[in-house]
Structure formats: C-alpha cells, structure tokens
C-alpha cells in the first residue's frame, strides 16, 4: 500500500498544478474555437448549396454537433507530455527514476490523469452548456446510457492517446532533436482521429483503413456515440476494440521503452 502513496502524491500534484492553470485550458479551448467556427460555417455553406439533406450520412444537426464536440474532445484527450519525456531523456532527468524506487511509466500516467481530471471537469461544464444549446435548437435526444457510454469511451480514448504518445516519446532515445517529429505526430493523430472531419466522409476505403488503426478511437468514436449516429450494437464492439487497442499499445510502449532504455547513456543530469 505504501508503494502506491507516491503515485497518489504524483496524481494530486498534477491535479493541483492543473488547477492553477485551469483558465489557460479554457482559453486554449476558446482559441481552438476558430477552427470549429470555420468548420461550422463550412458545413452550413455546404448544406445550403447542396440539394441533399443528408451528406455522407450526416444530417446538418449531426455534423454541427460532431464538429463542435470533436474540437472539444480532441483538446481534452490531447497528450502534451512528450516534450517533457524527451527533455528527461536528453538532459538526463530520467536517471533519477532509474535510481529511485518510482516507475517512470506509472509516474507519467498518474501525472497525465491528474491534469486530465481538472480538464475533464472544465469540459463537462462546457459540455452541459453545449448540450442544452443543442437540445434547444434541434430535436436532439440524449439518453443517460449514451452519456455513460460516451464517458467510458473518453476514458479509453485518453488511455489510447496516452499510450500512443508514451510509445512515440521513446524515439527521443535515438533522435536528439525530436520536437519536429512529435509535433508532426501530434498533428497526424489530430487528423486521423477525426478531429477535423468525420473519417467516413472520405470514402469507404479510407474508413476501412482507419478502422484498423487506433487513432479513430480517440475522437471519432466517442463523438459519434454522443451525436447519436451509432446504435448500441455498434457501440459495444467499439468499446471492446478500444480495450484491445489499450492492451496492444501497452505492449508496444513496453517494447519501445525497453529497447530505448538499452540505448540510454544518462548524459547530463
């Protein structure tokens, strides 16, 4: 039990730290709002110009809800610790984790979820406001079950994104100037997770390819649960696949870190 104390402390520290910067997170959602705005105007113009009422399987209200929520969810699940990890590796900060009885992976994940707890609270408030607005404008029904499943999928999404970035951060063992790769990866995940456009609007082939990748389970899948375009028979297998991806990515991150640690020479520090 005592062993868990240090991780609890890490979690609380990260939580307190994030509490300090909660307005910053809110601001980052607002500044990210411009791209959501572009998206909404684009879809409005598209629906106005098109004779059809359903485009690529989405009605107007569904696509607007998708655009707004995908923007918010992608901000919530974003990782952002990969730079710190790279810095630990580059400057030798990792050495203290080797010498001390604290596991780096556990430290990182507690740190990540500590920060995310506060962010989730901010997002939930925002989410309630948005849902009230949406249900007022459109005939949009929201069931309790749907919300629960959405929250579960968000939790899995957070885990998947954490593991993706934790795995990729092991690249810092071989590349010293790794920041460009990280930002590129971040943007790549953003794109493939469906944060910009729903993934199925680029045709069946693209949708099929992305269904074999973990990225769509970060944003696309959770948001589709909440905007009502998935039935329960589609949601349950999706959640199971999310769980499978969590396990697969855990193995990948373990492998990548094990091989990275062999290269680690503890420069600096």
């Amino acid at each position: 039990m005592k062993a868990l104390q240090k991780y609890k402390r890490t979690y609380i520290l990260a939580l307190q730290n994030e509490m300090e910067y909660r307005t910053d997170f809110l601001m980052s959602i607002i500044s990210g709002g411009f791209i959501i705005l572009v998206q909404c105007f684009l879809w409005t113009a598209v629906f106005r110009s098109s004779p059809q009422e359903i485009i690529n399987g989405y009605s107007y209200s569904q696509i607007i809800i998708y655009s707004v929520l995908s923007g918010v969810v992608s901000k919530l699940v974003s990782a952002g610790f990969e730079g710190e990890v790279a810095n630990d590796i580059k400057t030798g900060g990792l050495s203290k984790f080797i010498a001390q009885p604290i596991h780096y992976f556990s430290y990182r994940i507690c740190n990540f979820f500590g920060g995310k707890t506060v962010q989730t609270a901010v997002v939930l408030v925002l989410f309630v406001i948005l849902m009230i607005v949406f249900t007022q404008i459109w005939e949009f029904q929201l069931r309790v079950g749907q919300i629960v499943l959405f929250l579960v999928s968000i939790l899995f999404g957070l885990l998947i994104n954490f593991l993706l970035f934790y795995s990729i951060s092991a690249l810092a063992f071989i590349i010293t100037e790794v920041w460009g790769v990280f930002i590129a990866f971040n943007q790549g995940v953003y794109l493939l997770s469906g944060a910009i456009f729903p993934l199925n609007i680029f045709g069946d082939t693209f949708a099929r390819i992305s269904s074999y990748l973990p990225f769509q389970y970060v944003v696309y899948f959770p948001v589709k649960i909440i905007n009502g375009s998935l039935t329960i028979h589609e949601i349950v297998p999706g959640l199971l696949l999310q769980a499978v991806w969590v396990i697969v990515l855990m193995i990948i991150s373990k492998l990548s870190w094990d091989s990275g640690m062999k290269k680690y020479v503890a420069v600096g520090g």
Partner: protein
Amino acid sequence: MSISLSEIRKHVRMFFIFAKNSLVGYMEYKANFYSGLIMETVFLLSKLIYIVFVYQLGIEINGISPDQMMIFTGTYTIMIAIYTGLFMDNFYRFAGHIRNGTLDLYMTKPLSLQFMISFRHVNFAFPIPNLIAGITMIVLAWRRLGIEPSFIHLAGYIGVILSSTIVTYSVLLLPQILAFWTVKSGSIFDILDKCWDLNNMPMYIYPKWLRRIGLYVVPILFITNMPSVYLIDRLDLFLGIWIFAAPVISLLVVRLFWKLAVKHYESASS
C-alpha cells in the same frame, strides 16, 4: 521620421546578413531543419484535407467551384510559406525579448528597433513544403479554370500577394505588441493569432458581417482572399481600391501602435 535612401539600403543589406546567419544556423543544426520540414509537411497535409473534401463533394459551395477553391487553398499555402519564412520566428520570440531584456540590447543597435524585432530570423524549413504545394495548386487550378496565363495576370497576382504580405505583417504583429504591457505572452494574443485559421476557407462561406469585419476592421481575411479574388475575377472597384489602401493603412496603424508601445516600455527584466 526621416527616411533616407542610405538608411533603407543599410536595412536591406542587414536583412540579407540576418538571412545568411539563419541559413548558417540551419547548416550547423541540420536536425532542426529536417524536424521543421517533417512537421510542416504534416501540417500542410491537414490543410490539404479541406481541398480533398471539397473535390469529393463536387458541388459549388456558395458559388465557389472546387477549382476556384483550389486557388484559395493554394494562395493560403503560399501565404503560410511567406508568414512562416519571414515573420513567425520573430513574432514568437518577441515577448521573450521583453521578458529577458534582450530588447534593451536591440535598442542600442544603430538599426530601427521594429526592423530588428521583425526580421532578425528567417526560417528556411517551413516555407519549403508550403511553397511547393502552394505553387503547384495555383498552377493546376489556373490551368483547369482556363485563366489566360498573361503577364498582366501573373504580375497582378504577385502584386496582390505583396499587398497581402504587408497586411499579414501588420495584422499579426499588432497583437504581439501587446506584450509591452502584458510582458508575458498571454492567451489574448494566442486567440488573435488563431484568427489566422479563418483563412482556411474562402471568405464566401462566412456570413456578411464576419466577412466585413475580416476585410475592413481586422483585415485577417484580406490575406488569402484578395489574391484569389483577383484571380477568379470577383474583384469590384471597391475591393480593387482596398488592395492598395489596406497595406498602407495597416502598416501605418501598426507603426503608430509600436511607437506608442516603445514610449511606454520601461525594461521589465533588469
């Protein structure tokens, strides 16, 4: 404020020395160059996804055909190349100069302070993928739309790009100047900075009020729309005059604001 020819010549010469310095920096730290290149290529892809979407849809959106849309996206990409190449590195460092006191050092140099702040660094990595993709898109769309490849068209387009470059400089420097008061880079100018995203799509998808604000009040929409509007023949007399007036007015505003801010400056760090 007297501007003599020799002063201008000195500044131009210094700009090339700064550019050379930056290039030498990239040659020394090649990894930085490649990192930047990879990163910008992925960003470019996420911008191109919009044009893929528009072609996939295959309809005119608010009267803009997919080919015309490509003119907009191409111009946007070229403007990103110009912004990231010339201004971005300098603007992002600006608040740091105030915080760390390097601004004091720059003040003692026999060059215009605003010039030093604006042009000290040139980025060579980011513009490369954007320039290639942007020019390719413009050439492709130009051919598909059957626009006559005359000298007038080309010179006109480059002229409007120049005008847009000046507007870009002014509009994006303006929020940075706020750092004279706030010292650290805050969310306010992060938000203003993000306004840039509005250029992702042609202004015709926006409602009239937003278009007006974006063209005449904070001319952020001017940047990619004007050169494209010129090419697809949607220019009216008023917009034609605005192409000449906007860069002059915005540059004047930013210059005056700069002077006001410098007067206010009282060296934060030391």
